[in-house]
Subunit: 308 residues, 2 copies
């Protein structure tokens, strides 16, 4: 059993920034990361997605940026611990946090679990996951060079993924259930100029194939159609990684995001949240700022608690 002042769950930008502040302020803390899907460099900022709104780093790839962040942590002697939290219980004003490696007793915690890709609701999808169907496309795109693949979702992530697969040499097509692509105009116009075909008002109804995917059945206002498909990349939006929050009975909004006040405090005393899990503007700089704000206010909370 390790005792902590602050346990930070999730080592994305929010958790990393929270940890820097905790270190600067001299708290006894641990930064833990499950490295599951949703881990920062994979989904949120893939290596083929450049970031240009984090002040100080001009037009940088997600991979370069995460390396800079990790280097900053290393310089400050912050080493994330890679373990998965199984359960969090609040007993006598402290949190008992069970992971797959350890149990922590902590006076406060920050939920910085981020988001994951929303799941596609198609029968038997599980049998193709990781082989023909993916919720992210790096580094899995390479194997589909010259093959017919579909990107499901015509918003920004779908458009960027389609452009990436097109550049890799895949025969890619976009499927969107709405009547139009909803990507920003700068991405939508690239889709057009790259000549990437897209179908609107279209959904996948079945995935067909034995071991590997061979074709998909699409439904559109024109009816059903069976088309060859070897790979599917699902980009239909994000949803919060809120399993731990739910179990702790943290208040969630109607989309499942954690409700926080301006101090990043949840409804549970001592439990704070930061980053994309709070449903705020999904920018790295916003997540990092929320991590700072959470740690600052936990500092106040812990000093008050010590007086009791």
């Amino acid at each position: 059993m390790s005792k902590k002042d602050i346990l930070i769950v999730g080592a994305g930008p929010a958790g990393m920034s929270a940890a820097l502040n905790a270190q600067n302020d001299g708290w006894n803390f641990e930064l833990i990361e499950s490295k599951e899907e949703g881990w920062f460099p994979r989904v949120s900022v893939d290596s083929h997605y450049t970031v240009d709104n984090y002040l100080g780093f001009s037009n940088v790839s997600g991979t370069e940026l995460i390396k800079k962040f990790q280097e900053h942590l290393r310089n400050n002697e912050i080493i994330p611990s890679y373990e998965k939290v199984r359960r969090i219980n609040r007993i006598n004003n402290v949190f008992l946090v069970e992971t797959d490696k350890d149990t922590y007793e902590t006076k406060s915690l920050i939920l910085a679990n981020g988001t994951k890709q929303k799941r596609l609701n198609v029968p038997d999808i599980e049998q193709f996951l990781g082989k023909s169907v993916f919720y992210y496309c790096v580094p899995d795109g390479e194997q589909f060079r010259d093959k017919k693949v579909f990107v499901v979702g015509g918003r920004n992530t779908g458009a960027v993924t389609a452009l990436y697969l097109n550049k890799l040499g895949c025969d890619v097509e976009v499927i969107e259930k709405d009547p139009q692509l909803n990507a920003k105009s700068k991405y939508a116009s690239k889709i057009l100029s790259a000549g990437i075909p897209y179908r609107t008002e279209t959904e996948i109804v079945t995935l067909n194939g034995d071991k590997n995917l061979e074709s998909i059945t699409l439904r559109s206002p024109l009816g059903l159609e069976n088309v060859v498909a070897e790979g599917i990349f699902v980009c239909i939006g994000l949803e919060p990684n809120n399993d731990l929050a739910k179990h702790m009975e943290v208040d969630l909004d109607k989309w499942g995001y954690v409700v926080v006040d301006s101090h990043m405090a949840t409804n549970i005393p001592g439990a704070y949240a930061a980053g994309d899990i709070t449903g705020n503007l999904k920018q790295i700089v916003v997540a990092a700022a929320q991590g700072s704000i959470a740690t600052y206010n936990i500092g106040k909370y812990l000093r008050e608690k010590c007086k009791e």
Copy 2:
């Protein structure tokens, strides 16, 4: 008369981040900066003050960080315009902004004016300002090498300023009106280990001298005392640069900071604020995040407005 979608007033981290987002989103905007006291690299983050809580830049000087930020803006072809806003009036749903160089008509604006050092209330202080009395100490410290100087204020900025002057070779002493130094323990302990003397429960009542400062009269529980002093560095906290906000009748809190909602919107439609002027946690990453959030929500506001 220049017409804009967004006018950003102040090119500190909040204004710079707002401008990056405005550029990325294709808005017609202008970033203007008065370069007066309170300009980002001078007061908020002096060159002798290292920053270690902006994720991605490890233990960097304020000067280095601002250079990175300015480089990012240059790479994105954002050139701040150096002019001083004299007055902002809202007429027929647009803002008329008069500066010392131009007049803008803008659909929306972001107040990112930051803060300035609080003024010291001592008779005849004006005659010594910029010669013997300073509200910041870079690059003015150098001229006081081997001379007797006082730092007014024993909080973090006062402590860091005193340590810097001590390192430069000034004979520095700290004056604090409270019964103790209120700096973080890491700064207070450095003051002690550097052997920098300090007086608590002490205030300056007069500044004495003809052209240059020669001595000051101090009041403490022991009575009045006249001591030799050639330079005074005032670090008694920050106050918002809210003159424009006041004139626009933007709601302020009891300390004079601009009141914003979670979208960074003020009570005036189309007027947003970001950064230290909002009274939030004074970290660069927080200011930058607020700039992003302000531009994002202005985008929504402008699209709604276009529909009218």
